[in-house]
């Protein structure tokens, strides 16, 4: 069992081992929906929600699979749960906010294949977290994802007004920013476990 405090688990997932900027998971929406601050915040919220649900389900499923002595089903069950959670979120967003549904576009169904979410489920299992720890871990990971998305969206919005050389406009500039951000987050290494 794990002896970390809940606070350190949260900080660890959000900052030190930030899923996007230190583990490089979930890069696809990180580059894709970070053009506007508003969309980025809501995408972060959606991912956080899916992470929380799938992490709680993953805890239950893991316990269940261990009890029937079939832990080899772990990966496939996680994926099934994540896929259906995303479907649910998609329907929910389409119902309550068609505008948000449009602006998230293809990236909403793509949360299904977002490796950060499967990553959370797999890491918490391998680290042997209990239920409360799993919830805190997934919240931290979601907060970290949102933080990364909001950071890069803010910078990209400012960069729209900057006079950058032609050759580095668009995707190239985004990748520069992503690289520098990642370097900054490497500075947190050593803060936690």
């Amino acid at each position: 069992m794990n002896t970390e405090s809940l606070g350190s688990i949260f900080l660890n997932a959000a900052l030190v081992n930030n899923f996007v900027l230190a583990y490089f998971l979930g890069i696809c929406p990180f580059l894709g929906v970070s053009g506007k601050m508003e969309t980025a915040t809501k995408m972060g919220g959606a991912v956080m929600f899916v992470m929380l649900i799938s992490s709680m389900s993953a805890y239950g499923i893991h316990a269940f699979l261990v009890s029937i002595d079939a832990p080899f089903l772990q990966l496939i069950s996680y994926i099934v749960v994540i896929a259906s959670t995303v479907q649910l979120v998609e329907m929910f967003i389409k119902k309550i906010s068609p505008a948000l549904f449009k602006s998230l576009g293809i990236f909403l169904p793509l949360i299904t294949t977002n490796c950060a979410i499967l990553g959370v489920a797999l890491f918490q299992t391998s680290k042997g977290y209990g239920f409360l720890e799993s919830v805190v871990y997934s919240l931290g990971a979601g907060a970290g994802f949102m933080l990364a998305l909001v950071l890069i969206a803010g910078i990209r919005e400012q960069m729209n007004f900057a006079d950058v050389p032609n050759i580095s406009k668009g995707t190239a500039l985004t990748l520069f920013i992503a690289g520098i951000l990642s370097l900054c987050f490497m500075g947190f290494a050593g803060l936690g476990a």
Binding site: D69, S84, L88, K94, P98
Partner: protein, 288 residues
């Protein structure tokens, strides 16, 4: 034994999730106008964006909501647009056809190169190397990025390395406008017959050294044109299309043929006094 457990466990799990999704689908069902799907099927699926919407689906939504008229789609045929108009019971809406026009006439037979570019055969790449090899800094580089990017085969490079636009095939989607590193293409209503096919900002001999068909900013077209139709700005004639521009007078005395008249078939006609170009091959490398 373990395979039975695996099948049962996974089957149970998926059944549970399926029930959850079915219930959610019923509760959170969003009604969408079925006409949107039908109209989308009737559109050409080119997703070119010429209508001003991000693709055919958003355009179909706008059509159903009455925010746009079928005439905006320049890719579809007249029958296709009429079919959509009939289906929705709206006016077809006439949109004047636009075409892409190139503001350069400097093919290899009239314009010199100051350097020979041998790198990647693309205008974007050539333009990065101090603006390309062309003598005229503003002119067409002739590597055919526009020909490649055109989805409708409307642009072909002629034997002198200049893109020729087929007016009938051009849908004014604007892809070539974005592709050209020299910003030579623009979308013009087809009734804009008068056209300045040059972007050189220099004047007089400096232009002629680089290109025989460049605009020397002599100002004859501006003097001849009625009602201040043409003014010279930055050593280039600017046509004020808001005025009555249906006159061939301005092109007649142009010494180089930089200002042309596009006839209904989309062929440029030069004035009577413009110098005849008889050279067929390319001009040698200049020593500027």
């Amino acid at each position: 034994m373990s395979i039975v457990i695996a099948v049962a466990a996974l089957g149970g799990l998926t059944l549970l999730l399926a029930i959850m999704l079915i219930v959610a689908n019923k509760k959170l069902f969003v009604y969408e106008d079925p006409r949107i799907d039908k109209v989308e099927d009737m559109l050409p699926h080119a997703n070119c964006g010429a209508c001003g919407f991000p693709g055919c689906r958003p355009f179909a939504e706008a059509l159903v909501q009455g925010r746009a008229l079928p005439g905006k789609c320049t890719v579809s045929t007249d029958e296709g647009r009429q079919a959509i108009a009939n289906f929705l019971g709206v006016d077809m809406g006439a949109e004047e056809k636009k075409v892409a026009r190139l503001a350069c006439a400097g093919g290899t037979n009239v314009a010199i190169n100051r350097a020979q570019y041998v790198g990647v055969q693309s205008c974007q790449a050539a333009a990065l190397v101090s603006g390309g090899g062309k003598g005229c800094f503003w002119g067409c580089l002739g590597h055919g990025d526009c020909e490649v990017v055109c989805d409708f085969d409307a642009i072909t490079m002629n034997e002198h390395g200049l893109p020729i636009v087929d007016q009938d095939k051009c849908t004014a989607c604007g892809d070539c406008v974005e592709a050209c590193p020299k910003d030579l293409f623009s979308l013009q209503p087809i009734s804009h017959h008068l056209w300045v096919a040059c972007k050189n900002l220099e004047h007089g001999e400096a232009v002629l050294e680089d290109c025989q068909v460049g605009c020397t900013a002599c100002g004859k077209c501006a003097m001849d044109a009625p009602d201040d139709l043409i003014t010279i700005k930055n050593n280039l004639p600017v046509v004020n299309y808001a005025k009555n521009h249906n006159t061939q007078v301005p092109i007649q005395r142009c010494p180089t043929g930089a200002i042309v008249w596009f006839n209904d078939d989309g062929e440029p006609i030069k004035g009577k006094e413009s110098k005849k170009i008889i050279r067929k091959g390319s001009r040698s490398l200049g020593n500027t």
